[in-house]
Amino acid sequence: MKFRHLFALVMVVALAVPTLSGAVQAQEAATITVAFAESQPNTLDIHAARTTDENLVMFNVCDGLTDTDPATAAVVPGLAESWEVSPDGLVYTFKLRSGVTFPDGSTLDAADVKYTFDRFANPKFGTSYVAGVVLRDVVGWAQARPTAGKDTPTPEPATSLSGVEVVDDLTVKITLSKPVTSFLVRLTMAGAGILAAGSADSGDFSKGPMCAGPYRVEEFVQGDRLVLVANENYYKGAPKVKRVVIRVIPEASTQVIEFEAGNLDMAVAPEADLPRIRSTEALAKQLVEVPTLSNFNLRINLKGDKTNNVLVRRALSLAIDRKTIVETVLQGQGAPAYALYPPGLSAYDKDYNPFPYDPEAAKKLLAEAGYPNGIELTVRNDVDEVGNRVLNAITQSAAPAGIKFNVNVTEASVYTQDRNACTMEMGYIRWTMDYPDPENMVTLLLPNAATRVNCGYGEVAVAKQIDELYNKAISMPLGAERDSVFREIEKIAMDEVLIIPIFHRVTTYLVSSRLGGTPVDSAANRRFDLIDLK
């Protein structure tokens, strides 16, 4: 090979690059391109779905019996046009809308609801934890998900959820085992969407679930994109955006660059890029910030040999400078959390702040607890860059109080395993609520009752009191009185410092100025049918 020729060839290739920059694909006006938040859905089976990316698809493809108002998050009719609740709060009778069709041509009736909830309750199919959240208070759940007794093996699960009954074509009766008033709210969750009867039996979800929502899945190319097309027969009216291409762009900074180049109509804006976004005028005005119902917190092992002391726990909580953390690490993408409930819940009390930053007071408490020379604790986290920076900031803010935090980071599955085995002293928890009700915050953050292990909670003196208040609150009608009971729970939990709240998250999207309407609802879900194209 002659070097000069080779060199010439290289130069030709180098010069050819710019000419390849052919025409940008002409985008149809009614098509928008967005990207998944994290990576891509692992499954398109609605009863196994649980991640942010999976929920994004489910929210836009499936509708449930009830829905949330995009602005106020209040419960509004969905596939059920109305419902009646029996005076004892146990029997819900739903009247379905007539004439709602599925993409396969079939018409919505009560049998579809029965089929959906039977499948969701079945441990073989309803593998997501959402099944329990939605259905655990429905009669028959215990038979559908039986547990082994002390000496008896696990009984065969019932294949039908007996509390869900077909009354007539358009009427469904759901009987609860206890009168939980949040049931209608739970039915709005992405996983509670109604499937066409029999449609999931094939086990093929390459085209997503067969639902009556505003969109259906046209194709899913693993690792590349998922395409949604509008359901022209949608009962709330055909969506204005006819096609949504959801791209798989795992690197958030790349999403921002793609957005800047005009290739994405919506992108997730990571903290690291915020300073640059805010200083670029064109980007700054397309930034949309939505408070998320969440509580990012430190979970404490209540039976740890240092953390079992409430004085120590209180000292830890007083030694965290939440305001500075939100301003610096999070670039303002959050609000300091001083108690359980996030702003946006009616039970939130903005004047309640048991933990103002006070390292001196923390030091005194530690001395009182028997640690006059300071204390050393290990706090764990999984691989989460923002969380680790939060923990480093906490470490710094707690140092003046004589508290030394050792941050130990492991992979998520190891972290969860250790947390459930109670082998960690403290752990960082990114907790976003499943549905907008204070009950959800209490079940998942405090008692052992629902789903997660809370190390040592059972041995805390106030646990019984909290459980009693909780059982009282969940059957009370939604409103101020119920909220006040939940506030009582919050006060007890914070007096005992059962968790250490740090901040409530704000989700940040870049949203193209050509998208009007409500691209992101009040719960920070992206709902494409609510978009108006300018």
């Binding site: 920059s21 934890y129 547990t147 693993q222 690792g223 590349d224 660059i257 793609e258």
Partner: protein, 307 residues
């Protein structure tokens, strides 16, 4: 020759079996639980047990091993824990994009690295030598992650030469990932070509060629370069194999759905069948390329024969 190839292929069997066993046990030694991943951190103990039963990871480890080996012998690598799709299908799907980027990246590496290394060696200690060595140094030390984002900002945002910045497609979208992926190989090839050529240029037969009065170009191409190619080919083979395994960071930054991303994702979700399948694929790639390189030796240097 045929016998040689056959024996090499036979040697593959124990190699792959060994690599597979290593992957099988190492995945299970790793703390963490695939069922835990599938359930997320909100799952309860009961559904966790159910998931473990469904994935058959509650069975004794040797039973699991036997089940896999007997399936694998029939060409069935099982199904992914996460997506429930056949492992072979998923690997096939990820391999194509990876091979495309690897192909283009290799082409770039050869077209840039070889001439640069040769120029460097032939003009030793000149300005060109210093420049190419500096380039090679930058090439091996620059972080691909940073480079990838800079390429996106430069070509995608500022110059607007590449309108579609990331994602999969055999159009302008392949250019930046290939450039980013080729950087390391280019630098490596430059350096190895330079040093191999320098060594050959000091040999007696080159002096003889000069003494015979041959034209300089003939000396460098026919006498020097050809003899310098052996180490270059060896290194080149290695770099192709590593490109074919997928360049994780490049695939992440450019949203390229290749093998590297699949592997990292599978490891972090403890998707045992996927990881095992990918490891076997890697073993086959490396073994195949090594064999190809070995078979190239006698073509370049007739003194080498296999019999």
């Amino acid at each position: 020759m045929t016998r040689y190839i056959l024996s090499r292929l036979l040697q593959l069997i124990p190699t792959i079996l060994g690599i597979y066993l290593l992957a099988f046990f190492m995945m299970r030694v790793l703390p963490g639980d695939p069922a835990q991943f599938l359930e997320g951190d909100r799952g309860d103990a009961q559904s966790l047990a159910e998931t473990r039963r469904r994935l058959r990871i509650d069975e004794p480890i040797l039973v699991q091993l036997w089940a896999f080996l007997s399936d694998a012998a029939r060409g069935d690598l099982g199904r992914s824990f996460i997506t429930q799709r056949p492992v072979t299908e998923m690997i096939g799907q990820a391999f194509v994009p990876t091979a495309q980027v690897a192909g283009l990246a290799t082409l770039i590496a050869v077209m840039v690295g070889l001439p640069l290394g040769a120029i460097s060696a032939l003009n030793r200690n000149s300005f060109w030598d210093a420049a190419s060595r500096l380039l090679a140094l930058i090439g091996v030390s620059i972080p691909v992650f940073w480079l990838g984002l800079q390429l996106q900002i430069l070509f995608g945002l500022q110059l607007r030469w590449i309108p579609r910045i990331s994602g999969y497609g055999l159009d302008e979208r392949i250019i930046m990932p290939a450039l980013a992926a080729s950087l390391g190989s280019t630098a490596l090839l430059t350096r190895i070509t330079r040093s191999a050529l320098l060594e050959v240029l000091n040999q007696d037969y080159i002096r003889t060629a000069w003494a015979k009065g041959l034209r300089p170009r003939r000396i460098t191409t026919r006498h020097a370069l050809r003899n310098a190619l052996l180490p270059v080919i060896t290194v080149w083979g290695g770099s192709i194999a590593s490109l074919l395994s997928g360049t994780v960071l490049v695939e992440f930054i450019f949203s390229w759905p290749g093998m590297g991303r699949l592997l990292v994702q599978s490891i972090s979700t403890r998707d045992y069948p996927m990881v095992q399948g990918i490891v076997i694929t890697y073993a086959l790639i490396y073994a195949g390329i090594n064999l190809a390189v070995d078979l190239l030796y006698p073509v370049i240097d007739p003194r080498i024969t296999y019999s």
